[in-house]
Symmetry: C2
Subunit: 339 residues, 2 copies
């Protein structure tokens, strides 16, 4: 399996990116990583010409999109950027997957532009795994599709459920629809129509109906679907709350302790790592004909190694084949219903 | 000033509700609280006929809406419920304000049904005060209006800014538009059109443009506007995250300590109180011709007392007059622009 890794994407690129690639090829037999970016910088990190590593290749390009750059503008100007080249490699079937910790907006925009969608998929969506009191919970879409239609949300249910089963090991994932109350008539037109779609589908048994914001971290369902605007706000609000709470909690608690302060400090350090989004192994852009794993900008080598591993599991379990099959099942049901 | 207090609304009603009313009339000279609900139950809590308290009255009614009841259905069946009666008292100008810790959906639905809106206000919105790393931040709407138009969001900016100035004491509040990226072209149609409205208004100087979810708790702006669907999800997600984090953090830290465990426990107790939404003095439904303060269902007497106090400040500062003036300023500007 060949994976294109955006060597120039990320707050600390290319250092930890290249390092993560080295760790991954050592740990995962059978993968080949194509490091996409400035050859000189990459080889400086490798400490040797890439040719000496049988499972590492370099695909040279001259540009990179900065983390703070405006995606659409950057993509227009930078045709030879690492993120554009990664997608071109996948479109040409030179690689099976791409992994990037770069500017998320640019990675997604470049991907959507390729129209490299799976058969039957209307709009790809980004899935993120949240910690909850009852284990991991998959939320999607968190930003690829800010103007959703009911069918898009339904498809996120299909794809999120397959992801939760095969990547997180949930036997029969339950699916919830993010809403602002438990009543069926609540919310806006989008969620009311989506609710009806789920109820009428072959997923009705897995579908738990409406969930509210608070249910996410209480683990009320294994998968939660929402439009990309809501999901992106939720994701970033959570990062903000975590940051604030860990800071103020540590301050408050440590300030009260004397001799045992170092013990509490160690606990806070572990907690900060446990809830560090950059450790979660990346977020897949589901619905792409290929594999795209998006990592947090602050990803270290471990996060990159994890993301490369998720990409291989994604391929080995043939998630895309399963997604296409499930979506076909839905559309043939709809065809029967229409008769 | 007369305030109707929904004595039957709240997880522990009427106990702490009546208690809060007693504390408020002792502390705030010149207010009169009308306790709306079952006379026997209220007088049992008062420990004496209400007539003995000069500043406390009882308005008897026979029904109440449960915290888990479906709002629309409950309002249809329960014409003599405390929440319905509170709104009727305000519509008849028998009271200047209402305060309720009852079923939020029912309080809002009953209020919107009265169409008791301020001149110029298209849709009332609920404002909530969040703690941030830089002080309090007002977010609105958090659930009254799940299908917003650009003008609604603009009006939330006007009203939120007046609230932040007069209730929170922020000199010149900055206003942010909740979006999913800092680029102007980001987001959906609603936010792009709202952005243009703010830029062209007399609030342009206070308007900071797009903010992202993470900026809320970082305190990037004093007021953040969003549609009621997004705001409600955000509010509840935050409650869920806080609950999970305080639980897991306490578990992790306390588990590592020995002799100083009680010191850390005391700190966690204080933190739980600091971030307890029920302590925040209630959320105003802004845009109502009158005053409506909605309290958290789990409100204790202190929260009720705080909410009654906020209602009096709201009246004394004549916030509604200011809101109407500001909205008129906007519409006359728009009229000039249209010529």
């Amino acid at each position: 399996m060949r994976i294109a890794l955006d060597a120039m994407g990320g707050d600390y690129a290319p250092g930890p990116i290249v390092q993560g690639a080295c760790e991954a090829v050592d740990a995962l037999p059978g993968i080949e990583v194509v490091l996409v970016g400035d050859r000189d910088k990459i080889e400086a990190e490798l400490g040797a010409p890439a040719g000496r590593h049988a499972s590492l290749k370099v695909f040279h390009c001259t540009q990179s999109v900065g983390m703070e750059e405006k995606p659409t503008e950057a993509l227009r100007r930078k045709r030879d950027s690492s993120v554009v080249r990664c997608w071109e490699l996948m479109a040409a079937r030179e690689v099976d997957a791409i992994v990037s910790a770069g500017n998320t907006g640019a990675v997604v925009a470049a991907g959507l532009r390729t129209k490299l969608f799976l058969k039957g998929v209307k709009r790809p969506g980004i899935a993120i795994v949240f910690p909850s009191l009852r284990g991991p919970c998959v939320l999607l879409d968190v930003g690829a599709n800010p103007s959703c239609k009911p069918e898009h949300l339904y498809q996120y249910g299909v794809m999120g459920s397959i992801y939760a089963h095969h990547i997180l090991g949930v036997a029969t994932p339950t699916i919830g629809l993010m809403n602002i109350g438990a009543e069926d008539i609540k919310g806006n037109e989008l969620v009311r129509e989506t609710h009806a779609l789920f109820e009428a589908s072959h997923l009705a048994g897995q579908y738990k109906g409406n969930v509210e914001g608070g249910d996410l971290h209480r683990g009320a369902s294994d998968v939660v679907v929402c439009d990309g605007f809501v999901g992106n706000v939720v994701l970033k609000v959570c990062e903000g709350v975590l940051e604030m709470l860990l800071k103020t909690t540590a301050q408050e608690v440590l300030g009260r302790l004397n001799g045992e302060r170092h013990l509490a400090q160690a606990a806070f350090n572990d907690l900060a790592q446990r809830y560090d989004y950059s450790e979660f192994g990346g977020a897949p852009l589901l619905g792409i004909d290929g594999i795209c794993i998006i990592c947090h900008g602050s990803s270290g080598s471990r996060a990159i190694r994890n993301a490369l591993k998720v990409a291989t599991t994604f391929a080995n379990r043939q998630l895309n084949t399963l997604i296409v099959e499930q979506l076909q099942k839905t559309s043939s049901q709809a065809a029967v219903a229409d008769r």
